[in-house]
């Protein structure tokens, strides 16, 4: 009985996946919205906002996730199963055109001072741009969810971000957790 169920589930999953392969862009976007928010502004802890991210950044990350090079939550990876390059480009274009997320309040003066000092030393703005709006393959950090930023930075620093950019990872080597917290608090509060 159990075996039969397993078999049936496998069959159902196969059906779902093949259907996933044939979804239209609006159907896919509805799926993305369940986690990333209707307007690309996430309300879920650990799930990043996508609104206003550079198109190429998302395109590249979506390919890396689909290929299994960047490892993420299985449900996120499953949403990209078998999605063709052309559809990936369309998804990236959609989220890039949305209005960036609003900042999570204003940073206090101490946080802002320390964050700017850290960022100047590590030249974060040379790549992410001084207002942290991102460009091309480099993500927007301004207004991103704080806990997501913190975990992302920890993962780079500790060599856990699979498929991550090696210069990006090297920018965070040796920066203590307390300073990463300051950076995340600051960046989440930038417009």
């Amino acid at each position: 009985m159990l075996l039969r169920f397993t078999g049936r589930w496998a069959w159902l999953t196969a059906l779902f996946v093949s259907a996933a392969g044939a979804q239209s862009i609006p159907e896919r976007l509805a799926q993305c919205a369940a986690c990333h928010g209707a307007e690309g502004v996430s309300a879920i802890s650990g799930t990043p906002s996508l609104a206003g991210q550079p198109e190429l950044f998302m395109e590249n990350q979506l390919v890396l996730i689909r290929e299994g090079v960047r490892e993420v939550a299985p449900a996120m990876a499953a949403a990209l199963n078998g999605v063709k390059d052309a559809d990936i480009r369309a998804l990236a274009r959609h989220f890039a055109a949305l209005k960036p997320p609003p900042p999570a309040g204003k940073p206090d003066a101490g946080t802002a001072r320390r964050a700017r000092e850290l960022s100047r030393k590590a030249h974060c703005g040379s790549c992410h741009l001084p207002d942290f709006s991102g460009r091309d393959q480099i993500p927007r950090l301004a207004g991103q969810r704080e806990e997501y930023l913190l975990e992302a930075m920890r993962a780079y620093r500790d060599n856990r971000r699979s498929g991550g950019d090696t210069i990006m990872a090297a920018s965070l080597y040796g920066i203590a957790d307390a300073d990463l917290q300051v950076l995340a608090r600051f960046l989440a509060r930038l417009p």
Partner: protein, 399 residues
């Protein structure tokens, strides 16, 4: 002050040797004048670019030469290795795949041989086997041209690969001695490299017999052997953040094993480093045959030995320059023809394939030529890492 800090940092690094901290790859060596710079590595593409989106008509060549799109659909494809049966294998970096291109005489088809690897840039064919080298893995696919589904043999443990990732994606090739040549780049922009890095090694094909044959090599992404002398010639990338003028990339010649090529103290034709200062920094250093331009990102290099091109190209070199990012006015984005002098002590460098760079000041470019392969008929294949495509250059003029 800065120097004291540097010395202190070095001391800390040395005393903490048991648990070495990864050296910061990025911010070391960026002078205050560049602190407000907005230069960043150039963005690559990871999705397929159809032939219709490749502006091949913008490319220029000397009179008598023609270029066509030969294969597309290989995002990130760079180094190429050709098997005896004519299949071509391409390595990639970020996207983690190795491609196989099959030519049926009129059109090319592409499949993915292996994926999910960490920057599998190195590909080489030897005795009918495909060797793939990622940053942390070495795989061998025996008889792959006739057996597409062959399971790889994992040789990783034999090769003693160090853990740092930065600049440790690889170009690999078998030499005339049947050995596999593998570079281990400096894991930083500029630093005193730990002892496993900034060098070229060679191994027996099975990974045994490891030998360090050159040191002071920052990041070589291309080498080949002279068709007559059998000497190894290699390109090497100059460091970043010392300004628009350089230090320039290098074309080096290895006359024997054991030479030191200067990094981190001595760059290009004797430029002392701005951060790792030593008055005698260039002493005992083998200087390049030629420089190849500031931040040019000189990649693949071949000696042309085919019969298709006019005679003047015989045994001259072609070098692909992927193009600069660490420069306010962009440079490179071309293939140059390099002609070494008789004694091999200097060389002339002339543009050959140009047109990828549309506006150097605005940083506008569309393609990045990375590697070269001479075909049996003497045509020259050029891989474009940006477009995920291969172009074919042939000579159609009168000889």
């Amino acid at each position: 002050m800065k120097r004291t800090l540097l010395a202190a940092a070095l001391l800390v690094a040395m005393t903490a040797y048991a648990q070495p901290k990864p050296p910061p790859a990025w911010h070391q060596g960026k002078p205050p004048a560049l602190a407000d710079s907005k230069l960043a590595p150039l963005p690559g593409r990871m999705t397929e670019t159809p032939a219709s989106e490749i502006p091949i008509n913008k490319l220029k060549l000397p009179k008598g030469f023609a270029v066509e799109i030969w294969a597309t659909g290989m995002p990130g494809g760079r180094a190429m290795a050709r098997g005896d049966k004519g299949k071509i294998y391409l390595g990639t970096r970020g996207i983690g795949r190795v491609y196989e291109v099959t030519d049926d005489g009129t059109r090319r088809s592409v499949r993915v041989v292996v994926d999910k690897l960490v920057q599998p840039a190195g590909v080489a064919m030897h005795g009918g086997s495909l060797y793939v080298m990622a940053i942390n893995k070495v795989l061998r696919f025996d008889g792959i041209e006739g057996d597409p589904g062959v399971a790889p043999v994992d040789l990783t443990d034999k090769f003693d690969l160090p853990p740092e990732q930065h600049h440790n994606w690889k170009y690999i090739a078998f030499g005339p001695d049947g050995k596999l040549y593998v570079p281990f780049g400096a894991p930083c922009n500029i630093c005193e490299p730990p002892k496993e890095y900034a060098q070229i090694r060679r191994y027996n094909a099975d990974g045994s017999g490891k030998e360090v044959i050159a040191t002071g090599v920052r990041n070589t992404q291309g080498f080949t052997w002279h068709p007559k002398t059998g000497e190894l010639w290699f390109t090497d990338h100059g460091r970043d953040w010392m300004g628009d003028k350089g230090p320039e990339d290098e074309l080096n010649r290895m006359t024997k094993a054991g030479l030191n090529f200067g990094y981190p103290y001595c760059h290009a034709k004797g430029v002392l480093d701005a951060d790792f200062k030593r008055a005698d920094g260039c002493e005992g250093v083998t200087l390049p045959v030629s420089t190849l331009g500031p931040h040019a990102a000189a990649m693949g290099v071949i000696f042309y030995t085919g019969s298709m091109f006019p005679k003047e190209y015989q045994n001259t070199m072609f070098i692909a320059r992927k193009g600069s990012w660490n420069r306010t006015v962009k440079f490179g984005f071309d293939v140059v023809n390099v002609r070494p002098s008789k004694e091999g002590k200097k060389a002339s460098v002339k543009p050959f394939l140009t047109g990828f760079l549309e506006d150097a000041k605005a940083g506008k470019f569309w393609g990045r030529p990375a590697y070269l392969l001479q075909m049996p008929d003497g045509a020259l294949l050029v891989s474009d890492e940006q477009m995920g495509a291969i172009y074919r250059i042939s000579y159609v003029g009168k000889k």
